[in-house]
Symmetry: C2
Subunit: 386 residues, 2 copies
């Protein structure tokens, strides 16, 4: 395996009836901005529990964070923070709310220019407001990492930043709150976590058997428990297993000492930016195409993955790989995620536009070995056209 560094100081509090512990994690007398999304917290019981447990704090509410959270919305929260002298941020929701909260935490204290630079120029984050998380939707792993992805409405750009300054101080993981999710969101979360693992695992072998097996452990658990939460998000035990899997999928652990790829995300982000397709769905579209086009380059790991996760052991290498890709695509389909661009009304003109964007950015190639050129991106998307 390669050299690596690992550091993750997020305190995780997992399970039910845990919110009475909340005050021990937020400094007394904090002025707290409670940041949330479309209002599911009023339906899943979290809002009431939260108000009850935080009655000794001054709480300001900021709702309305979008899926694919907007830079423009985040900057409104920054204005509230400055006006009201907020000193602690509490993200209540899923990955979008947490990502927005991380950006808000950094932007509120950013003094080196326009906060947009944090995303567009990767300006270093020197300080950030402290933040905590109440997770109600398993998917992105944002509750236990340094990452944030934001979208600028004005320019249809979707950009990411990462900083240890925006590690949540704590994350309460609440599988019972996730029980009231719509099936669609539960399924999106399973596929999002699945492809997070894939991006860190399905590259090329570097003799890191423990990391490989940890990754496969998460994939197997998502395959086994995913259909249960899709059928019934209120299945507490299955949702618990999905939630812990999604957190472990992107907290820095399985990437220790191994290469990462992340090209499925890079391509998928463009589909969201241009067509507002759910993040997880864009990944489910791109992955089968990418594997088909790069099946020789990713051969060893595709065979290992097929055998260990899908028990594909018969046939020639090529047959096994084809079967493995089909099994994966069928798994996404079985959770209600369609995997062809035509399913979303997207045509070849979007492919042109995406390839053009990559070329204009001057990125020659992406992926674990920089093999994915704009030409390869075109082939990947063409494969998934219909």
């Amino acid at each position: 395996m390669d050299n690596f560094e690992f550091f993750n100081p997020v305190k995780v509090i997992f399970g039910k009836d845990q919110l009475s512990k909340l005050p021990s994690h937020i400094p007394a007398k904090s002025k707290v901005l409670m940041i949330y999304g479309g209002g599911s917290i009023f339906k899943n019981g979290v809002y009431t529990q939260l108000k009850e447990n935080l009655k000794n704090y001054h709480i300001v509410e900021f709702g309305g964070v979008e899926p694919n959270p907007r830079y423009e919305t985040a900057m409104k929260a920054v204005a509230v923070i400055k006006a009201q002298k907020i000193d602690f941020l509490l993200a209540v929701g899923g990955g979008s709310v947490i990502d927005a909260t991380k950006f808000i935490a950094a932007a509120a204290l950013f003094e080196e220019g326009d906060p947009w630079d944090i995303l567009s120029k990767q300006s270093p984050v020197k300080s950030a407001l402290p933040l905590g998380v109440l997770l109600t939707l398993p998917a992105t792993g944002s509750e236990m990492n340094t990452n944030s992805v934001m979208t600028r409405e004005e320019t249809h750009e979707k950009l990411a930043f990462a900083s240890t300054k925006v590690f949540p101080q704590f994350s309460f993981l609440l599988p019972d709150a996730a029980g009231s999710l719509p099936q669609r969101q539960a399924a999106n979360g399973v596929v999002d976590a699945f492809i997070h693992v894939i991006e860190q695992y399905l590259t090329y072998p570097v003799n890191a058997p423990l990391q490989d097996r940890f990754a496969e452990s998460i994939l197997q658990t998502l395959v086994e428990e995913g259909p249960k939460v899709y059928a019934n998000p209120a299945d507490y035990e299955a949702m618990s297993n999905i939630m812990w899997s999604a957190t472990m999928a992107l907290n820095g652990l399985i990437s220790c000492g191994v290469p990462g790829d992340w090209s499925v995300h890079s391509i998928g982000h463009e589909l969201t930016a241009l067509h507002e397709i759910d993040h997880a769905r864009t990944l489910a579209i791109v992955l089968p195409g990418l594997w088909t086009v790069l099946k020789n380059e990713k051969k060893e790991k595709l065979l290992q993955y097929g055998q260990r996760v899908w028990n594909v052991t018969e046939g020639t290498d090529d047959e096994r790989i084809t079967k493995t890709i089909n099994q994966t695509e069928s798994f996404f389909n079985s959770l209600g995620l369609k995997t062809k661009l035509s399913d979303y009304g997207v045509g070849v003109e979007t492919i042109d536009k995406i390839v053009d964007r990559f070329e204009k950015r001057g990125w020659k190639a992406i992926g674990d070995r920089q093999l994915i050129t704009p030409t390869v991106i075109r082939a990947v998307l063409m494969h998934q056209l219909k």
Copy 2:
């Protein structure tokens, strides 16, 4: 799965040629006590690299920490700390050195009575000196947890404590330094890590499939890579995989939301306290006996473990369990660890003494469901007599 909390802020720096990063992790102008064991650091190159990289620090050396580190020795280090106004501790070695350093860190600032109370009365540790680790021997996981086990020479007692105050601030994991270990120590490390996993995994099912698979991932990797480091500790890649496995075996992760047992350790500690048998060897003696005596109580997990780790799938449940226990014992034997008390010149009078100790402490029973009474302990040890 059960509710849980997880918190582990140790920064891990893994691999080769990493020690130039050391100064960035120790506050400038610290007065550092470098704590080590029997002198292997002079043979494995670490001492030279360390002196080179820490030349801007005031370093005081404290060597001679024993395997099964002594309370008496630790208290000598505490005296040095007080006399020399040490403000940072650097443990260089394996689990014994790290465990001793944790106790020393706590004892140096303990003002509520005799530091022995930290072990004997579990007196809470309110503060501790900061400490860092250079790990040269994979085994105990102490480099990434809060645990310490100390032995009092005078009374032949072996006792443990744990406190988040003694989390290492950083741990450099050095597989190349471990390359100069004797085969015996390399093998002990593999078995120690193996049984750490077993204590957190082989209990009873609580529907925690990810935790089960993570545990099995570590076991499979130890089974696969263990014979390689036993044959050749200088096999850098195999040692890297063993080292990361041993760290992951006991850093709090695989125990999240699942029951623990730890009775193999409780019984094994007595064999070390009375006969100075290597820690890992005591565990290898106790485990097969414990599983044989408790095969009905641990049936479900024994069958799952046998199938997933040893591919034991044929026969009646009882036959599969017997085969699984035999495979495990053979694995220990293949690494040079003998598993019968007679192999160590220990007879039935020691069994009487151990049972008597448990009875005198007033512990009615130990283990995941408090099933292991002194009578059961006698049966376990009698099974391993010869």
